[in-house]
Amino acid sequence: MESEKTILDNVAETAGQAGDAAMAAAEAVSEDALDVLNAAEAEADATADALWQNADAAAEMAAEAVDAANETVTDGGVATKKAKSASVKSPKRKSKNLARGNAIAGLLFVLPFIIGFIIFLVYPLSMSVRMSLNKVSATSNGLSFVPVGFWKPGSNFYKIFRDEKDFIEAFVNELKRMLLFVPGILVFSFFMATLLNQEFKGRTVVRAIYFLPVILASGVFLGLDANNPLINNVKEVMRAENSFSNITNTLEDILLTGETGNKFFQYVIDIVGQVYDIAMASGIQIIVFLSGLQTIPPSMYEAAKMEGCTGWESFWKITWPLIKAMVLVNIVYTLIDFFTRTDSALMKLINDTLLIRFEYGKVAAMSWAYFIVIAAVLGVSALFFSRGVYYND
């Protein structure tokens, strides 16, 4: 039995040595068996049958032990492995043990997410990839898939980019709206945050009102007007008839008749025209900026003022560098929020294709094209704006 111990204790033992030791162990076992036999012979009074059975069993055991020993010789690695696993449990490696325990505990804490991610996200996503590459039709016993390939006439991607004018149009419009909205939301929310950061009466009420869009512009409320065909008709009639002049229209005319900066003015006017939508979409962004502004110690501004900094200078030298991390967060949040909205024309097109025309393959292709573009835009803007971000901690 001692020889077994030697195997376990000695980590550096070579495979051959381990095999030898195991052989010795096997010999020891067979010796035990012989002892049993001897004892059996000594007890001659006992019934002969039982005696011989015992002896047989002992002999068998001995043979097995020898076999096992031979196996160990041929596969000496097993013994070394055993020895290694025994060594992990030794008190010397306690810190490593703790780290492993922590890793297991951490994985257990995160387990719900891993399960959910695999079952409820990876699976649907892979299925949607499959659908996008197949012609999917619903039959009485489930769906039938006919492979159509990625890019050739008749495939889903080919169809949506070549044949379907609506999709391209909605897609381009969505990207254009993004260029209009995302900067608009960022500027607006930053402006509002600086306003709300100042001291004035009724500040809490105003803050509450500005955060209200988080509720008002969520889910079903957002899509209500888009879903109401009757209202849409009325809106168009109103837009057509609303041609009488007022101050904003006149101002717009004056600005747009100038030769230079035409496009820029048009851009600004477009943003101002959307101010309601922008205000409704910037609830969380305002709070994020506000919290960022409040982490800047007022003493910094005081010091700058003493040194003769103007407000403009202290904005670019103090506020902007410290708020840049928030800008990054807000860009990412705004982009995600913008792209996952449900009231866009593109989403409506996707929903119609799904719920009215039942073209699963096409829907999957559309969603994937959309998703890839979102990921690209997000990645590029995150990379671009994460340069030179200063973290306070």
Binding site: V110, P124, A208, Y210, V220, N228, L230, V275, V329
Partner: protein
């Protein structure tokens, strides 16, 4: 000091500064007036649609067609409320929505708290990659996965396990039941779960490490440390996450439309989404197929309907406004 004395002192100081003080005072007054106008205007921008809806909801159908009436109704009436209430099917719908929202929010908060804690305090292999996946769940538009999910739950099976247990070889048909969505919430795959994980992670990261170390030294296990030491401190953030989850579930119609079919599982959000069509259908059933529902009238019903759906949320918002606003600032969202 009386008023007159103060005024006198002011002019004295102004004279000494060579008119600088007066100019400064005028500037700051003008600035605050300008700011007040701006803030009021922008507040009005947000609140106006609500007020307009409120006004319209109390009009009679006659008033709606009267062009001289803009906001104050001439004939006060609560008829639109009773119509909307009827279309909602009243209390059962609201109770169902309430129960579902509470259940969903609870499950989401519980699972996301666990996961957020795991991400904040433990080191394990592939941690960064897994957290990248959390962000990925936020980016994936729900429309991309909703269809496959819907089809998936028609024959729900996890790697063929359920099929073997039941012995039929087929999964369970869970379409039109609440379980699939609740399962998703419990597994951090509900609507915006990634955001809650992120918020909880930020919260736990900001807690002092010494708290846990002291607990470990005193012989507290990992689970007990979490439940007894860290969880009580995380309550405010959990409340905020709960509120967000509740509001977003109450108004959600992306998942709800797929998982909770109308008529068998009426929810406030799905009902509201279809309220114009329902109203039109009711009128057609009553007055014959040729009846055309006036836009203004259906619009009024929709306004009333959305007000009714908003009331519980507004109550919650007023009560827990601080929780909403502070959670975002406290989580100190940083990269």
């Amino acid at each position: 000091m009386t008023r007159a004395e103060r005024r006198k002192a002011f002019w004295e100081r102004n004279r000494k500064s060579g008119g600088y003080l007066l100019r400064k005072k005028i500037k700051s007054v003008l600035f605050s007036i300008g700011r007040a106008i701006l803030i009021f205007g922008l507040c009005f921008l947000i609140v106006q649609p609500l007020i307009q809806k409120l006004c319209v909801s109390f009009m009679t159908e006659m008033d709606l067609y009267d062009t001289t009436i803009v906001s104050v109704p001439r004939h006060f009436s609560t008829e639109s409320y009773s119509i909307a209430w009827r279309l909602y099917k009243g209390i059962p719908t609201f109770a169902r929505s309430l129960g579902l929202s509470v259940a969903v929010a609870l499950l989401q908060v519980l699972s996301c708290t666990l996961v957020g804690y795991g991400f904040a305090r433990y080191k394990f292999p592939l941690k960064k990659l897994l957290f990248g996946f959390v962000i990925l769940t936020l980016i994936v538009p729900p429309t991309t996965i909703v269809t496959p999910l819907f089809l998936y739950f028609g024959d729900f099976d996890i790697f063929g396990i359920i099929g073997k247990i039941t012995g039929t070889g087929k999964g369970l048909n869970l379409q039109g039941k609440a379980i699939p969505y609740l399962m998703m919430c419990a597994a951090c795959a509900g609507y915006k779960a990634g955001l809650y994980i992120y918020m909880m992670r930020q919260h736990f990261r900001n807690e002092p490490k010494e708290l846990e170390e002291a607990a470990y030294v005193d012989g507290c296990g990992r689970l007990r440390t979490f439940f007894q030491i860290l969880l009580p401190g995380a309550r405010p953030m959990m409340v905020s996450c709960f509120l967000f989850a509740f509001v977003w579930q109450w108004t959600d119609q992306i998942y709800s439309r797929i998982f909770f079919p109308i008529n068998t599982w009426d929810l406030v959000s799905t009902k509201l989404f279809n309220i114009v069509n329902l109203f039109d259908g009711e009128n057609k059933a009553r007055f014959g197929m040729g009846y055309v529902t006036q836009t203004a009238y259906s619009n009024q019903i929709q306004a009333t309907g959305s007000l009714m759906a908003l009331v519980p949320l507004l109550i919650i918002y007023v009560v827990a406004q601080k929780s909403f606003v502070e959670s975002i600032s406290q989580s100190g969202i940083k990269g």
